[in-house]
């Protein structure tokens, strides 16, 4: 039997340098309108008193959940999940009611008022289909984004995760959405800041 593919994105926070190349790569790859972001990089900190400080960057985008809340609330079934675990919006069906933007616990979705529909990261499905990596992964200056099939133990992402499983965590696992984005904690600092999210 053919093994099921599950595309997953790993983000190693130890290596993210907050350069926002992922953001621009995404915008140009997908022609995202100004004012709308399919991914963004947040700066957390600096916390503490100079010079004893802590800071890290936190890139965020659609989690491509295995059990997504956005699908459950969509009245037109515009939002769907592909075989490989990519969550997409069918723009022929979406009429912009915006329920999904409320349902998504990760704030990954934005309503494009001009177009009257909801947008978000598509995990560069059009590139992945051709065997390429998502634009943000290719561009990443910190090499902190690793993409691939988590069900394939020989994939780059599986190997990377195995090597760093101690520091892996997901955002709000308690909700039960089973996100396909896995983070690694920075090796130094930020421990307290990440604690609440550790799986």
């Amino acid at each position: 039997m053919k093994r099921k593919i599950r595309y997953t994105l790993l983000i190693d926070l130890d290596k993210c340098v907050g350069c926002m190349s992922c953001t621009i790569a995404c915008k140009n790859e997908n022609n995202v309108d100004p004012g709308i972001f399919w991914n963004r990089v947040y700066k957390v900190g600096p916390e503490g008193q100079f010079p004893n400080l802590d800071m890290f960057y936190f890139p965020k985008q659609c989690m491509h959940c295995n059990d997504p809340l956005c699908i459950k609330v969509c009245p037109t079934k515009a939002t769907y999940k592909t075989e490989e675990g990519i969550v997409l919006v069918d723009h022929d069906k979406c009429y912009g009611c915006g329920y999904c933007t409320w349902a998504c616990p990760y704030g990954a979705r934005t309503k494009n008022e001009k177009k009257g529909m909801v947008e978000k990261c598509i995990l560069c499905a059009h590139l992945v289909e051709r065997g390429e990596k998502p634009a943000c992964v290719v561009s990443c200056v910190g090499n902190c984004r690793v993409f691939g099939d988590i069900n394939d133990p020989t994939s780059e992402i599986s190997i990377y995760l195995a090597e760093h499983s101690d520091s892996a965590f997901q955002i709000h696992p308690e909700i039960g959405t089973k996100p396909s984005v896995i983070y690694l904690k920075p090796r130094k600092g930020a421990a307290k800041l990440c604690q609440s999210n550790t799986r």
Partner: protein, 774 residues
Amino acid sequence: MGSIIHKPDGGKIIKTNCFECHAKCGALCHVDSKGRLVKVEGNPEDPRNEGRMCPKGRAAINILYHPDRLNYPMKRVGARGEGKWERITWDEAMDTIYTKIMEYRDQFGPESIVNAQGTGRGTNQWNQRLGNTIGVNHWLAPGHICLAPILVTSLSTIGMVTNWEGADLDRSEVQVFWGSNQIWTEQTYTSGGVNRGRDRNVKLIVIDPNFEHPLAARADHFIGLRPGSDSALAMAWIHVIIEENLYDESFCKRWTTAPILIDSETLNPITEDKLKATGKKDTLVVWDRNTQGVQPMDDHHLKPELDPELNGYFEIVDLNGEILKVKTAWQELRERAAKMTPEKAARLCWLEPKQIYDSARMYAKAKSAAISYFQGLEEHTNSMHTIHAVNTLMMITGNLDVFGGNMWPMFWNHMLSDRLTGRPTDPKAAEKKSNPFKLYVASHPQQVFETMLTGKPYPIKMYLGIAGNPLSWSEQPENTKKALLNLDFIVVMDYFLSPTAQLADIVLPSAHWTERDYIADEQCGRWYFAQQKAVDPLYERRSDVTFIRELGHKINPEMWPWQTDEELFDFQLEPEGVTYKELKDKWIHEHTPDVEKKYEANGFATPTKKAEIYSTVFQSIGIDPLADYEEPLESPYSEPEIAKDYPYILVTGRRYPNYYHSQYRGIPYLRELAPEPRVMINEGLAEELGIKEFDNVWIESPHGKCMMKAQLTNGLHPRVISIPHGWWQGCPELGLPDYPDFIANANNCITHKKHDKNTGSPGSRSSLCQIYKA
């Protein structure tokens, strides 16, 4: 297959290089069947960026097709700066410019025409050649705040430029980022080494006043020093390294000028001719432990029988039988370092002594350690001593031109060679460059502006600026504006109508890197790349190189015999034995093999063939030959009276990953990531001063002020204020404003009267200031 890959759908992928910063990432430009550029991404085949690309590079399409780009040559029809333009042909533009140059040159001499540029990054040699063709190579550029202090200090003392791509991060045990944020500004050759370094658990030291440096939180030591106190820190590191015997004794003895004997009083070197009749005038001497006497220093032909003494005072007898009191250069360095205890440095740098001890030991004990340093060391009024002190650290620890240390990228030794920049036709006229600084490379910008204003010592009539915006980069920009307005004729070539271009009589449209052919050379490590166009130039935009070459040819066809850019590039590449066509075919060309200790073959590129801890070049022109602590000209310690009213230290020019200097605030995708100029201020200090997040505040120095929005942070010392530079352009698409009349110009606060006495660098990163709510 070549470097252009044709796709079945009629489109193609062009291998080329980005030009949005100096470092020139390998890029893949995707062009569709209609000839439109549709995607720009990193080229994994570039051994430096390996496919990675920063936001600026990724935004190349947005820059290429931006509606505000200059598209045609235009001439001014209204009053200066009024904004009334009329489109003209290139022929008319070229004829007018040529005629003006010839007129002014005949009437007022070649010194009356100023060739100018901005960052250069690939046209330095051609702009200089144009200057030499006109007769006086003013080369008006922001060199005094970027590149020149490091270039001249390093080339004179160690014969190489060893920061930037020289820092061999990928093989180092310890990585030091000292006043350098190159993971944002030149990630091309920085990110690979840093990223793999994280995997290798490399030790990391970040020396920077700003904890919001993207690597600070990951560092083993974050040294948040007082801006401008770097020379004190470097001397304290030298102190620890010498006191604790952590230096590379053999390298210091054999490969540096540390053991040379110098006069104990004057510090002048003792030469062999002073000691014996047959002695040579330029042979330096050492105290040999084997013979217990004075011996000529060897050069790169090391003499194994020689064992130079590093330490001590000696009395030696000269030619006339008189006793000379001498010591080794090392002894002098040691005494200077002895004065800078880590405790004293901690007070000067606002640090803890333990941070200094620990970080110095970490650097010196590593098998190899690389220092990435940059403008954080240059933009101070003490840059020469600071840079020489940091270079001295590399020398005494033997980290020079070794794998994992600071290597020798050879291109820098050739970039400004006479072969490329052309010798001035009239050497006497060429001396009319105006430059009061011994270690500055061309006419010093502030000297030129002064000459423009006063007409002394000669009249300046014309400014010819190619890809430069001095109304943004110069100290006291209003003064610069007055100076330019004093001229008869101004030509500016650029992508956009910059504040400087707005003053022009003729503006010319520059082609973007995706629409022009260049060679990627500077900051490209061991390689040349064919930085070839992906699309034909849009409208009537032209490559800067084409313009310079054609103008040069009109003035002096002998100096510019080339009919095409390709022929010009062939000339540059001649020593490599490749033509531009061949380079284009293969895209990448290795010009230097990956070898360390290149100095073993012919020594260092210095007069002594040694790495000059004691600089014979400096000594010969009356500059302090050794590293030392020097206070910035305007600091709480050098100017305590001024500091009473201006108690904070101002760092201008903090970086963004999405802008390059004054470029690209008009590009929506980039602008929305950093929509407005913001001043970083410590949270506690802001509270004390009643300043809240997003308040408009004035940042004021004794020399001027600018207004920005407050950004509160814990990442700065309560006495340090940090502001960005380069804000002029608006972004109509996002409804975000421009900043006319210098209101947000960081350089208002920086004086144009105080510079490092040798390199001519201003105090852009260590001036005193006050801050208050607007």
